[in-house]
């Protein structure tokens, strides 16, 4: 297997260079060249406007699947303590949109024990069918039973797309099913689209820690499987309609599983390094006094965030040294950084300018922090933060149905 550039056709337009996730392409003397970093992934081939890139595969027989036999979109739900995870409803919302484009059916699949009286409520999210596999033992999640049951159902019903929440549960059974069926699976998707030319599902996901987005497709295999990140899609408005419900009783017992569930426990929150934190709330001189730092901690708590601060906060003993962000402290790159009462001197900014979104709350409208903040609030943090905490609580409550 190899890759080569046809020099006679190549125009040196550099379209391929931008499409290589491995940086293996370079235009030298007007022609594209491939380096040893090439991983033969083929992302460049389609990007070439003049088809100058040839990926040569060895010729031998691969049994090609008849993909035309596969129709319909499935969403597989997970549940805990008899409550279905929100992501299933979010996927039904997106699934409906995809099903409409493909002019096909949308099915919700539940493996559980006590959903009989909930089916009516669950059927109002836009799906056409529900497959409800009922077995007493499936009140809990059993990895091997989910894999066995879903594989059998997929082989029987042949859906073209199967969507699963990218949770520890979904990401546990989905890959094993994909291997059993030799069907392509894309993990933790943040975007789903239908390719208008082929009807294939285009699955977009973050890689390299979110620094690069990749769009994946599985043109030769069915079903096209994807685990999807919770919270990306919206839960749709409820709509009453006729939904076909198929209930299947399975007689599973504990002996059918290779694993035994001993018990479920709740864990204590573990300490997170600032460098790994998704959200950081930081306080600076403007906080004023050690007692006032409590509102910083409270805001962090409602955001499920870590607490940080500037050098001043460490020196005045409001926070520990390992919570200091800045030139003589840590460099962080969270999704969200909220700087409260921090002026924004370069010594601090170099430590946090890598954050995706920076929010600044400061009394001084000329504070340099506002130059780096994406969203700035000019105001007294002691007045702003308490109401911000309430607003965050309200929005969070809204998000979880």
């Amino acid at each position: 297997m190899s890759i080569r550039i046809d020099d006679e056709i190549c125009t040196g337009c550099e379209s391929c260079v931008a499409n290589c996730p491995y940086g293996a392409l370079e235009v030298i003397d007007g022609k594209a060249c491939v380096s040893d970093d090439c991983n033969l992934c083929g992302a460049c081939v389609d990007s070439c406007p003049v088809d100058a890139i040839i990926l040569e595969r060895e010729e031998f027989k691969i049994e090609k699947m008849d993909i035309t036999q596969y129709k319909g979109i499935w969403v597989v739900a997970e549940h805990y303590k008899n409550k279905i995870h929100d992501v299933a409803f979010q996927l039904l919302g997106k699934g409906r949109e995809l099903a409409n484009i493909l002019k096909t059916n949308l099915t919700l699949v539940i493996l559980g024990a006590d959903f009989d009286d909930k089916l009516d409520e669950i059927s109002q999210y836009g799906q056409d069918k529900i497959i409800y596999v009922k077995s007493k033992i499936l009140k809990n999640y059993y990895s091997d039973l989910y894999v066995k049951t879903l594989t059998e159902l997929i082989q029987e019903n042949k859906p073209e797309i199967v969507l699963i929440g990218a949770t520890p549960t979904g990401r546990d059974f989905a890959p094993r099913i994909s291997k059993r069926l030799h069907a392509g699976l894309t993990a933790d998707c943040t975007g789903l689209e239908i390719d208008p030319d082929t009807g294939n599902l285009l699955q977009t996901r973050p890689t390299f820690g979110g620094n690069i987005m990749a769009t994946i497709r599985t043109p030769n295999s069915r079903p096209q499987m994807a685990t999807v990140r919770p919270g990306i899609f919206k839960i749709p408005e409820k709509v009453k309609k006729d939904v076909k419900i198929r209930k299947i009783d399975y007689d599973y017992t504990e002996k059918d599983s290779v694993s035994k569930i001993v018990k479920v426990i709740t864990k204590e929150k573990s300490k997170v390094n600032l460098e790994d934190a998704e959200i950081i709330v930081a306080g600076g001189r403007g906080v004023g006094a050690k007692e006032n730092f409590k509102i910083i901690e409270e805001l962090a708590k409602v955001l499920n965030a870590e607490v940080g601060g500037s050098r001043v906060a460490v020196e005045l003993d409001w926070i520990k040294h390992d919570q200091q962000v800045g030139q003589t402290g840590k460099t962080v790159s969270p999704r969200l950084y909220i700087a409260c009462g921090i002026s924004g001197a370069i010594q601090h900014v170099v430590g946090m300018q890598g954050a995706d979104i920076i929010v600044a709350i400061n009394r001084d409208e000329n504070a340099p922090i506002f130059k780096v903040a994406h969203y700035g609030i000019v105001g007294d943090l002691h007045k702003v933060i308490p109401t911000l905490i309430e607003e965050v609580k309200r929005v969070r409550a809204e998000e979880t149905l």
């Binding site: 050098r311 030139q327 003589t328 370069i346």
Partner: protein, 384 residues
């Protein structure tokens, strides 16, 4: 000629660097202020085998060649000169001489605890009247039956206050105008031994430098290292080997100064641009780079000569001289580049500057190095 390090040496460097950055860097400033070696670092260093780098595995050491050992010392020195001098001195001038010159019994008895770091080691030569002039040693010993009785005191002993095993350079007689010197291996649990003043120093403050007192300390004849009257000859060889590690750690220190200067020069904006874009700063950084790299090459060559059984004294001395003077200049310029921030404890460069000054004087002053180098060159000792 191959300047490339082997994959093993690259791995040794990588792991030591990661360890030093994770364990030592966060507490270096505090240790310097408190003049104390951090116990958590000590435990991990022992576990990882940093006290027995150059001692063969049969005696519980790591079995490393000299170049690998130098790389270890360089990487530790890049983070904290107090630690690199502690492990460097312990392994190169206390443990290693026992391996090199000791009897089988001495090796069996003393090496494993030293290699594991269960017992810390020291090499004590300097006295109030004997600094650069080793001939001025007055600590003496006389034979009483099958024991030697030691009396005297040593000052400025690195690891002095913490060591459990030490090599003591002692006067056991007179050879014409010069004293006859003998090296004794001493167990500090011996009655009559005590630790005196712990010095409060300018630099390498976390490392222990103490005065040691010997009052009728009885040492069995089995503890003579290499033979009676061999003290001067062996002492010179011991210091020669230790010099390579002193050079290595100071190369690390110079490296730290360069890295801090580069980082600051790229971040600090004055007069509309990062100061690294001004030639005045650029020239300082260029000069630091040249000097430290020269010192590194001399250190690696001295290590290589040693590993290949060739004479390494001349190049080792050149390395120590070059490394310490390069580090002094580099750390001086690093402070200058940082401006007023360079004078503040929150920035590591002020500590690097103080640590560099120590290196120009200990383990053979720059003046002594020049003497050693000149004597060898004048005797036609130049080698490729």
């Amino acid at each position: 000629m191959d300047f490339k390090l082997t994959p093993k040496q690259e791995m040794i460097r990588k792991i030591t660097r990661e360890f030093a950055e994770e364990y030592i860097a966060p507490i270096a400033e505090e240790s310097d202020q408190n003049s104390q070696l951090d116990p958590r670092v000590m435990e991990e260093m022992k576990r990882m085998g940093y006290f027995g780098t150059c001692i063969p595995q049969e005696f519980d050491g790591a079995g490393m060649d000299t170049l690998s050992f130098s790389i270890v010392t360089e990487e530790i020195g890049r983070i904290d000169a107090s630690w690199s001098i502690t492990t460097g001195v312990h392994a190169s001038v206390c443990a290693f001489p026992i391996y090199r010159f000791g009897t089988d019994e001495q090796k069996q008895e003393f090496l494993p605890p030293l290699a594991r770091g269960d017992r810390l080691g020291a090499f004590v030569l300097t006295e109030a009247n004997a600094g650069s002039d080793a001939g001025g040693v007055e600590t003496n010993a006389y034979l009483d039956g099958d024991e030697w009785v030691l009396n005297g005191s040593k000052i400025f002993a690195t690891n002095g206050g913490l060591c459990k095993t030490l090599l003591c350079v002692t006067k056991t007689g007179q050879k014409g105008r010069r004293p006859e010197l003998t090296i004794f291996i001493i167990d500090t649990d011996t009655p009559g031994y005590s630790v005196g003043v712990k010095e409060d120093k300018l630099g390498c403050r976390a490392s222990n430098t103490s005065e040691l007192v010997f009052q009728d300390v009885r040492v069995p004849t089995e503890n003579v290292l290499g033979g009676i009257g061999q003290g001067f000859r062996l002492g010179m060889k011991i210091l020669e080997y230790g010099r390579i590690q002193m050079a290595a750690q100071t190369v690390g220190l110079g490296q730290a100064a360069i890295e801090a200067s580069i980082k600051y020069a790229n971040e600090r904006v004055q007069f509309g641009k990062p100061i690294g874009q001004f030639q005045g700063i650029q020239w300082k950084i260029a000069d630091m780079g040249v000097e430290v790299e020269c010192a590194r090459l001399l250190t690696y060559k001295a290590s290589w000569l040693c590993d290949n059984g060739l004479d390494y004294g001349l190049v080792g001395s050149m390395a120590k001289l070059k490394a310490t003077e390069a580090a002094m200049q580099a750390t001086h310029d690093a402070v200058q580049i940082h401006g007023a921030y360079g004078l503040m404890k929150a920035y590591a460069v002020e500590r690097y500057f103080r640590d560099a000054k120590m290196a120009e004087i200990y383990e053979g002053t720059s003046e002594i190095q020049r003497m050693v180098i000149a004597q060898q060159l004048l005797r036609g000792g130049w080698q490729l």
